[in-house]
Amino acid sequence: MTLVAPFTEITDVSGSSSADSRFVRRLLRRPQAVACLVYLAVLAVVAIASPILLPDVAAERAGDLADSLQGPSSQHWLGTDSLGRDVLQRLLVGSQDTLIGVGVALVVVMLLGIPLGLLAGYVGGRLDRTLCWIADLVLSLPAMVLVIVVLSVFSQNLVAAMVTMGVLTAPALFRVVRAATLPVREQLYIAAAVVAGLSPSYIVRRHVLPRIVGPIIVQLSLLAAGALLLQTGLAFLSLIAGPPAPSWGGMVADGVGVMFQQGWLIWPPGIAIALTVLALGLLGDAVRDVSTEGWSPKRSPSRSTKQREKKKGADAPAISVDDDVLLGIRNLTVSFASSGGNVRAAERVSFEVGPGETVGVVGESGCGKTTTALAILGMLGHGGHVEDGEAHFAGQDLLTLSERDIQEVRGSEIAYISQEPMVSLDPAFRIGWQLEEAVRANTPLRGADAKRRVQELLEQVQLPDPTRAARMYPHELSGGMAQRVVIARALAGEPRLLIADEPTTALDVTMQVEILELLRSLQRDHGMAILLVTHDLGVVADICDRVVVMYAGEVVETASVADLFARPGHPYTQALLASNPHNQHAAGMLPTIPGSVPELGAMPPGCRFLPRCTQSTPACELGTIPLLQIGERHESRCVHAREVRST
């Protein structure tokens, strides 16, 4: 009995009639779809009615020969053909054969494609493999040629030709139906239905078919367009609809025959064919859009990403560029275009990284850590842009550099590694090639020197067999090895700063330890600074000198590692520490703090941490909280920082 409840609910979800009518209504809201449907409906009426209303046209061998090859006139709206017959009448009557041809092909396609597709997708296993193999086989045949073979035996037989076409193109529909059936079958409600003891045919009719109507219509409209082109092509070759029968393809052929005398005649049938094909294609497009509406990610409207407004000069506070500052971020504000306007992913972010220093940027996901890191390199991508701020590095503001100039910085001055080593390497090239490319792009080394450097890099990251590794493709590497290769590539230009975005998150625990150890030793040997983005305070404790804590797009605390762990100056930091009490970095260990990071664009006024803070007072709601100096190189964005620090 327990199964009944979920199942009734489920039936409602897939209730086909209501889902169908909603689908139709959404389709009819699109002008493009309505126009196509109206055109096709009119065409169908014409195809049925005109042979009845104009009974003599089909057999008319010749019209008024004295009046042949005329352009459009009031008697003959579309002119007359080489035998003096009215073009418009022939066009209208000729639509019948065309549509019959398309209809026959579609019926055959559906009769074969839908049941077999359902069967293959639903049953799976060997049957599925066999049917797929046959489908591939048939699809690799040249359809037109085989149709002509059939017509060589069954002369002028439209139905035979289009049945053949249907059989040869049915695999295209078969594939679509099969692909659409597979996931539906996996879904929970199907499982429930099977347990409830319903017959497979009922499940298919009731649950599977309604879900795949969209893809079927899309494919059918494409196949209809293909069938139409084939039918007109065969008529053009007079393999079907031989004279005197009117047909669109045959009329093009007539027009070609008299092209030198009257160029007009190929236009009416050509336009009729093109319009019908377009109507079918655009209808398919509209159906696809409607049936994927709501869940398909919209492509970002603009792909010009690096465009950044140059700052308007003087009012930006000048900062002193210390020798002991390698990277100095000031008031960095980054926003992203979203459907509801611009949202700020990072706001007034300021911190420094000294030469050879390791600085951790910590916080939960969605706090603006990665955004900050990418903004430094000018790699915000889709819709992101820097609103304000500076990023001083080696005497220049990275945020004002042109794309060309920042390219010079990337790799040779600042390198970047991400949390997903497996997707950071190009799958199509060998490791050695990719490293050599990085060496050539970021150093003057060429040829044998570059090759030697690659070898050296692979040794530096302690890959067991560098020579062999260089010959491998990324997919042949384990996650840990891939991350070593990625690090090797980052080292190619001997950068002064390495930005490492969650470099160990995707790896298992032993790998994490090894990679951290590697980063530490590289830093020791090369004096390279590291900006380490992580959510894991354990990692911070392991290798960082100083820490920047970010929350909801803002820096909430900066401190030395020792200070941070001993005397955290912000309730958020305290909560992070409390949720990770033993400073361990076990795999997948995420700090859990009650509540969640506020949505971008929906920030509370006053302190952003307030909704989750246990120590708030009314003072916390009053306006933006500044970053306060609370100790030596220790800052906190909390009005009660001093009390918090001493607790």
Binding site: P142, I148, V149, S152, F236, G270, V277, R410, Y416, F429
Partner: protein
């Protein structure tokens, strides 16, 4: 690689058997007597008897097919029932014509299609939209109609190129090229459109991928990102579409050869079909299928070269 070759052979044999047996099966399915139907009211009783024998209609279907097959594997496709010439000889004479037409069209599709696709992927904006519109229009226009328009414009109005006809390469290379220019242009338009579209989509897809971003973050210059990394990865779907388009080109070639009076296999196929010359039709279909199989094979090899994952597994 070896398993791939075996798999291809494994599918090639049934394909060829299917295509070559098709007309035998159809003949046996014909209600009444095929020879009578073919001759209609034209033939004398003697012609009728001769045709029956030539088609092997006096034997059971499988014997007819076996008979045909055992000769076909030696390259003997019988004689035309219309003019009694050797079908194989006719095919050998015409094959180079069709192949040059089709390889020309493939070449144009790949070169123009990939260049256009890369260009429109990198330079976004009006060009991409223009290409979209063009792709749609070209897709909707039947190839024989486009061909006719090209004749009107380039042969009749501008008089740049010959309207119809074919000059063999051995006679005059320039005249040969000129005689093929319009047919190749007409034939390739549709596949150029398809290749442009696929190339652009694949390039955009790859250029948005993590490994391109990571390579960029580590100082790999844009030129290399586009022309080495993105292009090589995008080539895999592009090869698929080129393969599919090539199969489609054989259908297009049938129409184009007839329109431009090019004496290739396509026009042989149509004239033979119109006169029910079944031995000739059958042989042309088998040769077409064979070429398609070879194309598929080439596509498979290209996959292997482009995708290291396939190669090692």
């Amino acid at each position: 690689m070896v398993s791939m070759v075996i798999r291809r052979v494994f599918t090639a044999v049934p394909l060829l058997l299917l295509v070559s047996s098709l007309s035998f099966v159809l003949l046996s399915l014909t209600p009444g007597d095929a020879a009578r139907q073919i001759l209609g009211t034209r033939g004398t009783p003697e012609q009728y008897e001769a045709l029956r024998q030539q088609l092997g209609l006096d034997q059971p279907v499988y014997e007819q097919f076996w008979h045909w097959l055992s000769r076909a594997v030696t390259g003997d496709f019988g004689t035309s029932i219309i003019n009694g010439t050797s079908v194989a000889g006719e095919i050998w004479a015409r094959l180079p014509v069709t192949l040059s037409l089709i390889s020309g069209a493939i070449l144009v599709s790949v070169v123009v299609g990939v260049a256009g696709g890369v260009f429109s992927a990198v330079k976004d904006g009006w060009l991409a939209r223009a290409i979209d519109a063009l792709v749609l229009v070209v897709w909707a226009l039947p190839v024989f109609w486009v061909g006719s328009m090209l004749v009107v414009v380039f042969a009749i109005k501008l008089e740049w190129l010959p309207a119809v006809g074919y000059v063999p390469l051995s006679e005059s290379p320039t005249a040969w090229a000129r005689s093929l220019a319009l047919p190749v242009f007409a034939l390739s338009l549709g596949s150029v459109a398809a290749v442009v579209k696929q190339t652009r989509e694949a390039m955009l897809d790859v250029l948005g991928s993590d490994y391109i971003r990571m390579a960029a973050a580590n100082g790999i210059p844009p030129r290399s990102l586009i022309f080495r990394h993105a292009l090589k990865n995008a080539a895999i779907p592009v090869v698929t579409v080129v393969g599919l388009q090539t199969i489609g080109l054989f259908g297009g070639a049938v129409l184009i050869e007839n329109l431009f009076a090019v004496p290739g296999l396509g026009s042989l196929l149509v004239t033979s079909a119109l006169s029910n010359d079944i031995p000739a039709v059958q042989a042309v279909a088998v040769v077409f299928t064979l070429v398609v199989i070879i194309v598929n094979f080439a596509v498979d090899i290209a996959y292997g070269l482009l995708n290291p994952k396939l190669r090692s597994s």
